[in-house]
Amino acid sequence: MDAHVGEPSRSSEIGINPGKRRRLVQPVGGYGATDSVEGTSHIPNAEIRDGGSSRRNPDAPDGVLRTNEQEQYDEEEEGLKYGAQHVIKLFAPVSLCMLVVVATINSVNFYNTKDVYLLYTPFHEQSPDTGTKIWNALANSLILMVVIVLMTILLIVLYKKRCYKVIHGWLILSSFMLLFFFSYLYLEELLRAYNIPMDYFTALLIMWNFGVAGMISIHWHGPLRLQQAYLIFVAALMALVFIKYLPEWTTWVVLAVISIWDLIAVLSPRGPLRILVETAQERNEQIFPALIYSSTIMYSYMGTHHPDLLSNRNEASETGTSHQNVGEGTPLVRYIENRDAFDVCQLFALKTLSVEKERIYLPLAHGMSLIADSRKLFNISIIFLDNAAGFTEEWTTTNGPRSERRQVEVQANSTGNQNRPAQYRTVTTQSQPVQNYEPEPEERGIKLGLGDFIFYSVLVGKASSYGDWNTTIACFVAILIGLCLTLLLLAICRKALPALPISIFFGLMFCFATNAIAKPFTEKLAAEQAFI
């Protein structure tokens, strides 16, 4: 039973992007922990964003030459405009996750009874004395938080040292645990609660199929809906585990403490999550969505749009930097962000690109070559597609698949996975466009970490475990409003914000207030059939 405490770590990353452009980043990826596997799984995300943006503004006045102010204004408006949709896109899965948890809590008694506790919570609050209980809860949550903080730091160290394999192994192992062992436990208790007999062979067959499909769709490819469903289920399962194995008051204290930790980790200048995200930006990589354990941050996946780049661009235009031999990502980016972007785009579009090993040779008009780490090329294409307004529509539409193919190739090289069969590449290339270009709205999805799902669901599930539906509904509404406010703040501040504190604060407040004050009142009204 100890292993699952590590879970939250795996589970919670978030990224909503208030980035410069509030462009939504992670369409296919769904809500988070999706592309934790290296290499190709990152590609679809970038891709779609390209497709989305290029399709969206072929005729928009999004020139490369626009003034900053104007851009900012438009971005703001655009951000707001799509904001409402994004909020709903978060509401639906969050509500679904809570629904699963609440339904389970109310129908399966197993998750409501306390018998076994986590290893990390040695004090079991069994004394009838309130003072002792509070002391126990505080001590438990302190221990749990120390574990969480240590895990976060370990993660950052691993990430800084580029131990991707270790991190991915960690993620895969933990989702394996959830998808097989805890799902089996869940199935068993579900069958027991409804008194349904089932033989072991059938149960194992179901579990095998369920688990393997889940592993594939979470860590590799899968239909978007399936992937989302699995992620929601995994989050719900984790929330149930917390509800089951944490002592009563510890759960509440942990909820409060983890939101505070979230606040610190994201907002303080040396906060671990912040460091992690900034490192990811520096390296122009996806933050491992599945992995940031600490807790959910709503951090921008700013990608190419973070402030440094912006200043770079200004510098570049001042100095008139043009073609240069590029060894590192930034100068190339600078070049592209420069007003010559148009030329580069044409080069990309018209000339073939040779990819050799980790280097990319990009022929330039003046007989020079741009050499870039292939990893960085990934970003270039994003940039130039963002600025691709000047192209004909035809070009822009065909552009998506093309750049995608290129990126697949590039990525295949850059991951350095030499033993990956060549055939693999082609397969991915062909299959992806079909998969990625399906529904329009999906292209601009938002990422919300599974950690958010988990702790929101823990709160609502815990509230519902007292058997009062009014408290549950109040919690639910309060959390959604908190989420709304967080997103609104995100649009206003345009900086990284933690997703937990506002929602959890509202949720806790409404939970206790409803339970203590409103419950007797509404019960009295209901009993007397008086309607207010």
Binding site: L80, F510, P520, A530
Partner: protein
């Protein structure tokens, strides 16, 4: 009689609101958000009124006291959400995908009214429904056997009434027609106070009066929103 009764009562109370939600709210994200915001505001009003009821200990046994104050709080919070929505109208315009939501002022009123109604309906009925699902049945040995039925009917009426009230209220405040504002408050008080008679099982009287008020208020809301007999006829004959 547990599960069938549960489903029957659930759909009696929440079927029409669910249909209204699906056909008029669900397609527009901004409406969903406003609905939830309205629900939140109603929650605040409930908390305040129950705090009041809770704090004044000697009057705790008189439901009428808490009920009257609750109505007053709800109506003032209706005014509050009116103010909020009108203040943020400009922002909404930017956020909304369709200009319709601002062009037709009644949409905001309708959505927030439905939000009020749904959350109050949920609070009134959810616990009863949860108990109704089993294993016990209400009203076999004690209490009225129609308890569940009357409760869910009244809940449906309250949800519809809240929607109508908001439409009338927003419009009346917009055009400063104080009589209509007063009608909303008074009819809310009337319906709520009438439900106090439910304890003595005078269901015909309470539900009958609520139905009458609902119909009158519905017609008023319909006219307020620009409807007339001609438009109704056109609607009914699908022209």
């Amino acid at each position: 009689m547990t599960l069938p009764e549960f489903f029957g009562c659930t759909f009696l109370a929440f079927g029409p609101p669910l249909a209204m939600f699906i056909f008029t709210i669900a397609h527009d994200p901004i409406r969903i958000i406003i609905l939830i915001a309205a629900a939140f505001v109603w929650l605040l009003s409930l908390l305040l009124s129950s705090l009041m009821w809770f704090a004044i200990v000697p009057l705790r046994d008189f439901t009428a006291f808490g009920l009257v104050f609750s109505v007053i709080f709800q109506e003032s919070f209706r005014f509050l959400i009116y103010k909020i929505l009108r203040k943020t109208e400009k922002g909404l315009q930017e956020v909304a995908n369709s200009p319709q939501i601002i062009a037709n002022k009644h949409i905001l009123a309708y959505v927030s009214g439905l939000g009020f109604g749904i959350i109050s309906g949920l609070f009134a009925l959810m616990n009863i429904l949860a108990d109704a699902a089993g294993p016990a049945t209400f009203g076999l040995k004690i209490g009225s056997p129609t308890f569940l039925l009357t409760s869910s009917t009244q809940t449906l009426l309250m949800i519809l009434l809240h929607t109508f009230w908001s439409v009338i209220f927003f419009d009346s405040v917009d055009n400063s027609k104080h009589a209509k504002t007063a009608y909303v408050v008074v009819s809310h008080l009337f319906v709520s106070v009438m439900t106090l008679l439910n304890t003595s099982e005078m269901y015909t009287l309470t539900i009958g009066s609520s139905v009458v008020v609902t119909i009158i208020t519905g017609i008023m809301a319909f006219i307020t929103a620009g409807g007339s007999f001609v438009t109704f006829k056109r609607f009914a004959t699908c022209k």
